[in-house]
Symmetry: C2
Subunit: 343 residues, 2 copies
Amino acid sequence: MATTLKDIAKKLGISEATVSLALNNNSLVNEKTKKRVHEAAKELKYFPNMVAKGLATNKSNTIGIIVPDINIVFYANILRAIDEVVNRAGYSLLAAMSNNDPQIEEEIIRTFISKRIEGVLAVPTNKPTKFLTSYQKALREYNIPLVYITSLYTIDEIRYVMGDIREGTYMLIKHLTDLGHRNIVFIGGNRTVPTTSLRREGYSRALGEKGIPVFAENLIECEDIHYDQAALVTEELIGRRRDFTAICAMNDEMALGVINTLQKAGIRVPEDVSVVGYDNTIFSKLSMVGITSMDSDIEGTCQQAVDMLLQVVRGEIPEEPHIMTKPAMIKRQSSGPVKETEN
Amino acid sequence: MATTLKDIAKKLGISEATVSLALNNNSLVNEKTKKRVHEAAKELKYFPNMVAKGLATNKSNTIGIIVPDINIVFYANILRAIDEVVNRAGYSLLAAMSNNDPQIEEEIIRTFISKRIEGVLAVPTNKPTKFLTSYQKALREYNIPLVYITSLYTIDEIRYVMGDIREGTYMLIKHLTDLGHRNIVFIGGNRTVPTTSLRREGYSRALGEKGIPVFAENLIECEDIHYDQAALVTEELIGRRRDFTAICAMNDEMALGVINTLQKAGIRVPEDVSVVGYDNTIFSKLSMVGITSMDSDIEGTCQQAVDMLLQVVRGEIPEEPHIMTKPAMIKRQSSGPVKETEN
DNA sequence: CTGTTAGCGCCTTCAC
DNA sequence: GTGAAGGCGCTAACAG
């Protein structure tokens, strides 16, 4: 059915090996025969069999990536960026979704290993641990490098590249305090998860610099970090009190929930209350007022993650196993000076 | 490095073949040795080499999918659904993005063939054609079945599964006319592309049934079908006239742009103007008012697409090469009775 | 420069 | 029930 090296070798009356070399543009083979081979290949509609090549070379030329759920915009953004970078680097990408389930994550790794992936990138499930999981051990066994994007792990030996959310949140809160805000609510997720706790650190630091105390009641914890939850806690919040002049949500989707809820209650943004989000995703453009947000530089982060991974794949040792990329503030209309009458 | 069949055969003092059979749970081999083999495999941390297996069996056990851009929520939804269905069917999924570029699409197909994919699913780029493209011919050459999801092609020989958007739009418009609306604006994309033209047919039919004429000025064409464009044309629209009482956008993201723009202008939804979207994506929940939308039953559609593909892979001939799946209306608050004073 | 030869790891007859 | 042998398509020495 499929035409093989042998077919084109036979047709040209030369050896398979020569054809192979010619197809790979090896300089050993004469330009003339190269051209003949390429022409014959095209004529016979030859498609190299990567499976056979993979077996022969013991290289799959593909790297794998695991994301929790592609229906979450942020992860989709990451996957897309990774796809681009990996392809540009001449590798194939094999993507899989873990559904935030460590067991599925492990299964995925198993099939990755079976496919002889050369390296794996992962946005890990959010169950942090201080121990090497079994799949991490398996990867090590097979000498397959692993780089996390947005890590939750605090184990030194585990490489990761992540956006500096602590710094990013600091910048956002500083932006608000510079505008005169002193009573700022932070809406995040579970306080024990790094993606929230790191942000809280940035929040506290920014307030501290202005001598503003951190009040526990301004730190809201959500069960999940999506629109509905944010809308819900905002509704509860404004039912309880209205002394705050700004709200910082841990991502844009939540910020959108906050804004819509405020507006529905007749609270104007940013005139009455300023709102900021994070990640500069599409959500930051979907309200009547553009949302001030932090751009995590997903492209840059992914580029660095792939670079680091490929370094290890090539057997080099990256100088720095942990990289924090710098985010940039995107100022839109949802944040403004504190309301005069509040003072 | 990696442990192979041979390693475990050697350890157990039996032949490779037996180990292979045992690992594949072949009934020929004695239960006892099977157990021994499985234990040894686990002990030696054996991971089957799918590359070798693929070469030997000439089956990759994976199917490929091409979507235009995973950053578009609707496509991300599709990819996720496909991933689930394909995995459940015991196949691996290899995903790739075309960026809506036919050339990239072709490259992807090339690598798919090289990887000896057993079938391909595709959400095609939106450049319709009546001819078989070169990659379609290549797939045929290699006997690799192809099924489109949401097809633009009108070639009989090309299989596809798509949501019935004509019917869905009909249902939405009928919903509006039943509520008393007669002056309904439809905001779509390029009129020559099936995803818009089919919807227009549904629109016209629903109006026709109530004896309402179709006015050209109520059919708005957008260059791209996203939020910003929708917001823009809505702004122009309300600058020009305000006689309409309802707006139907071709997707939820656009409907959201419409609603936000209307509200910013002080036009209430649904009191003054009703708005409906399509696809029942996350966007339909992101405004102050929930958006009435059509659920395209992505899961069902994807299930059928995979079923059809696997049928062909197995050499069966699906009875019906073209399937239209039925959508369901999701009624939310953005649509209501026509404003009394308009009459 | 080109051809020969041996595998890569696994599966699949076919004997025993 | 189990073993031996050949081959999947390609690459990688090594000869010539």
